[in-house]
């Protein structure tokens, strides 16, 4: 069974997209970054959600959104990127190692996928390719782009 969780920082406001890119952008665009965790697991779904809440969420400063649909709306496009399968993802290793030391978890974690999500907002039409090329590292990342118009 798969479950997708997206974590949104409550206190971080949208920033100017030029901060993401090597050269400033002319269009009036802003961005927000979130984190997506995809759990492949067997067993108690609520136990898996509890694990995410206790391990990956800061209840004071973040909101948890569960489901495939994005936590934010009204975007022009979204870029999801994460480590290539087979590349050493130290964050994933640390989280999985913590899970493996849990005393009798009520679910079996088969796989964990960690992705950064970048939402781009604004009126001016921007080319996502430029963002992909400046944000993602082709040597270690895989990515996908979701067009907000679709």
């Amino acid at each position: 069974m798969k479950a997708v969780f997206e974590i949104v920082d409550r206190y971080l406001e949208a920033g100017c997209c030029s901060a993401l890119l090597y050269a400033p952008i002319d269009e009036d665009l802003t961005y927000r970054q979130t984190r997506r965790y995809t759990l492949d697991f067997e067993g108690d779904e609520s136990a898996a959600a509890d694990f995410v809440s206790k391990t990956l969420l800061d209840e004071v400063a973040q909101d948890l959104h569960q489901g495939e649909g994005g936590a934010l709306s009204g975007y022009q496009f979204v870029i999801d990127y994460g480590m290539k399968p087979g590349a050493l993802d130290l964050e994933k290793e640390a989280v999985v190692s913590y899970y493996e030391h849990l005393d009798g978890p009520a679910f079996q974690l088969n796989d964990l996928k960690i992705e950064q999500r970048v939402y781009v907002f604004g009126e001016g039409k921007a080319n996502p390719d430029r963002f992909v090329s400046d944000i993602c590292n082709r040597a270690i990342h895989t990515w996908s782009v979701i067009d907000g118009a679709n």
């Binding site: 920082d9 206190y11 971080l12 920033g15 901060a19 206790k54 391990t55 990956l56 800061d58 004071v60 400063a61 130290l90 964050e91 640390a94 989280v95 913590y98 030391h101």
Partner: protein, 251 residues
């Protein structure tokens, strides 16, 4: 052998200020040991007066600063640190240690998130002691003093802004920046718990032990002495422990 207050520094993968913090503790008279978290168990807290979580980037700040260190500490120690505090022990968290203590629930509820600029900040700041409640860690310091900061996730926030206001008004926010440094609610730089025996702060006292550490080569403390503000912080808690444990009287 002379019994001195003993400090135990817990070291996580990525902790990198433990050596200089141990040096600072020894400079004021503590005996100090650094112990990797993999070797920590509740019985290792026997005979310890002060537990220190020093600065660094535990577990690479993965997930969020301090979270994995919190989870691993809880796995290894359960509520032993809370029991240690309840039995009269002292805890100090510096920078990443403050983040860990906050996530462990050993300090009032809040969180340390990314600076409002989104950037790592490394500079000297002016700090002000809270006036509502005394802190045994800050007793020997003037009302305002300077320390260096070095953090990306040092913005203290609460679920509601009014909670941060209450923390300062009720004496938990014992240390504030004199100006807005990172977007912290009520400019909170350090917090203590109800008992006053747990302190967490973002600035690095261990980096200002001698006057030579200061950016101004002509800097002298108020008494014209050679020590920096950080020295007096460690000395304050050393004297508090000596006094409370009766070690001073015996000496």
């Amino acid at each position: 052998m002379e019994k001195r207050p003993h400090a135990l520094l817990l070291k996580f993968p990525g902790t990198n200020c433990d050596a200089e913090t141990a040096r600072a503790l020894k400079a004021v008279g503590f005996s100090a040991d650094v112990l990797p978290i993999s070797q920590v168990s509740p019985d290792r807290l026997e005979g310890v007066d002060l537990v220190v979580l020093s600065g660094g980037f535990s577990y690479g700040d993965y997930v969020m600063a301090g979270r994995l260190a919190q989870l691993v500490s809880e796995q290894r120690l359960g509520d032993a640190l809370k029991q240690f505090r309840d039995k009269g022990g002292y805890l100090l968290g510096i920078c990443n240690g403050f983040q860990i203590l906050t996530r462990m629930g050993l300090l009032p509820e809040g969180s340390l998130i990314h600076n409002d600029t989104g950037r790592f900040k490394c500079n000297w700041v002016k700090l002000k002691k809270g006036s509502q409640k005394d802190s045994p860690f800050l007793r020997g310091l003037p009302d305002e003093f300077e320390l260096p900061i070095a953090h990306a996730e040092g913005r203290f926030v609460t679920k509601d802004a009014s909670e941060a206001e209450a923390l300062v008004a009720d004496g938990f926010g014992v240390l504030t920046y004199t100006e807005d440094i990172n977007g912290s609610f009520n400019q909170i730089a350090g917090l203590q718990d109800e008992s006053g025996r747990v302190l967490g702060l973002m600035p690095h006292p261990e980096r200002f032990i001698w006057s030579e550490h200061h950016y101004d080569p002509d800097w002298k403390n108020e008494n014209g002495g050679e020590h920096g503000s950080g020295y007096y912080m460690f000395q304050s808690i050393f004297e508090e422990i000596e006094e409370k444990s009766g070690l001073k009287a015996k000496a």
